[in-house]
């Protein structure tokens, strides 16, 4: 009798995907259309007139496992596979233009006919003449905008320090620059030196320890009274 027993409908593909739990981890979740499978499952069950709660439970569990995997992949920012590419169209090789000499219709008269008009716009914007012809200019070192905005940077870093530690407390430099790029860390260090010079903070380092410690010692208001270079 058991040999002649018909396999339940949900063990046939494609519904079997939901009932082979051991294979769930191996399939590509993007290839499974859960809504389609579940609808098919319910319709089939309705048609057969037999409600099997155990099978429904398994289908539900498998579906949620597949959903979970899709969610995990999305959180990993893994893109779903691209849609299948269409067959590329035939692109013929470039046809190179035959080289021919061609006398141009432009004459010196044509060239000078348009000059009058151009000289009119020159009179609207008079040329800055006489411009001496100078030798190739010397190279001017580029001025770092960062240094030009040093006051602003000092202010914002000081405010940041106040938020991190109270007056008198210690803050490790490595903690302050954690996660920053090297160049940003260097810039922060430079600003710390400026702040230290203004007496806003204290910097100290113990022998044999590489860590640099910062203490906020100035008043909490960055009053700007001592903004002149020290």
């Amino acid at each position: 009798m058991p040999q002649t027993m018909k396999k339940p409908f949900y063990f046939q593909p494609p519904l079997s995907i939901l009932f082979e739990i051991h294979k769930l981890e191996k399939i590509l979740p993007w290839e499974v259309n859960i809504a389609y499978l579940l609808t098919m499952f319910l319709e089939e069950m309705e048609e057969q007139g037999e409600v099997d709660f155990r099978a429904s439970g398994m289908a539900l569990e498998s579906s949620s496992t597949i959903y979970l995997r899709k969610t995990k992949l999305l959180l990993k920012l893994e893109e779903p596979p691209p849609p299948p590419k269409m067959m590329p169209d035939f692109i013929p090789p470039p046809i190179f233009l035959p080289l021919r000499y061609e006398l141009s219709s432009t004459t010196i008269d044509n060239l000078l006919n348009v000059l009058d008009e151009v000289l009119k716009s020159e009179s609207v914007r008079p040329p800055k003449l006489p411009e001496p012809i100078l030798p190739t200019p010397e190279i001017i070192p580029p001025i770092d905008m960062y240094l030009l905005q040093i006051e602003d940077h000092m202010k914002s870093l000081y405010e940041q320090l106040l938020q991190l530690v109270g007056t008198g407390e210690l803050l490790a430099f490595s903690k302050l620059v954690a996660g920053l790029e090297k160049i940003e860390a260097v810039k922060t260090f430079i600003i710390l030196l400026f702040l230290a010079q203004r007496g806003k903070i204290g910097l100290w380092q113990e022998e044999d320890i590489e860590e640099l410690y910062i203490t906020v010692i100035g008043d909490p208001v960055f009053d700007g009274k001592r903004t002149e270079p020290i």
């Binding site: 590329p88 169209d89 035939f90 692109i91 013929p92 090789p93 470039p94 046809i95 190179f96 233009l97 035959p98 080289l99 021919r100 000499y101 061609e102 006398l103």
Partner: protein, 200 residues
């Protein structure tokens, strides 16, 4: 034969023909594009189509016999053109004064020529976004024309394009000619014929 020509001696006739040949040569040299018999007749100062055809064909032969870098070819529709033989293109391309097209725009052009009339969106699909620039350049050079707007913008090659390549103005014939050209280009995969730019 006109009365005037009957009265001419043999050397006089020969001299006249040599002069007319030189005029046709001058015309073809200066034009840099295919000229039809009517235009050539105007240059040669002759009204006989038969004579003008003979003059042009003589020039084609003369240039063949000279065996040098320049050729005069007869194209479809009894049109004649002077141009550099393809063998020399790669080596002197860089000397050409006119802004020439690089391989990218030329590929776009050849695709358009092959598929025309074609939707602009299809050209962009196949050739990529950078081909917007190619289309502008090809339009500036009057090699293609665009009609319609937005998603319904159609592109085809211009009569100037057909003339430039010595192709038929009839679209179907042109496409057949192009197929032959592409086959020829694809066969000899030597460095020079495939990459004339590189050969410079």
């Amino acid at each position: 034969m006109t009365e005037n020509e009957q009265n001419q001696s043999e050397p006089q006739k020969n001299e006249k023909i040599a002069h007319q040949l030189a005029l046709v040569e001058a015309g073809l040299y200066v034009a840099g594009r295919p000229l039809d018999l009517r235009t050539i007749a105007g240059v040669a100062g002759s009204r006989s189509k038969k004579k003008v055809r003979k003059l042009a064909k003589t020039l084609v032969e003369n240039y063949k016999n000279r065996d040098t870098a320049i050729e005069i070819l007869e194209l479809e529709g009894e049109r004649f053109v002077m141009q550099l033989k393809a063998d020399y293109t790669g080596k002197v391309r860089k000397l050409a004064t006119r802004p020439l097209l690089s391989a990218g725009p030329l590929k776009t052009l050849s695709y358009i020529a092959f598929r025309q009339p074609i939707l602009q969106t299809q050209v962009i699909d196949v050739r990529g976004n950078h081909s917007y620039g190619h289309l502008k350049q090809l339009e500036d050079m009057e090699l293609i024309s665009r009609e319609g707007v937005g998603k319904k913008r159609f592109i085809k090659t211009t009569p100037f394009f057909a003339d430039f390549f010595g192709l038929s103005h009839d679209l179907r014939t042109m496409k057949r000619q192009l197929k032959t050209i592409f086959k020829d280009v694809e066969k000899p995969k030597t460095e020079e014929t495939m990459n004339p730019e590189k050969a410079e």
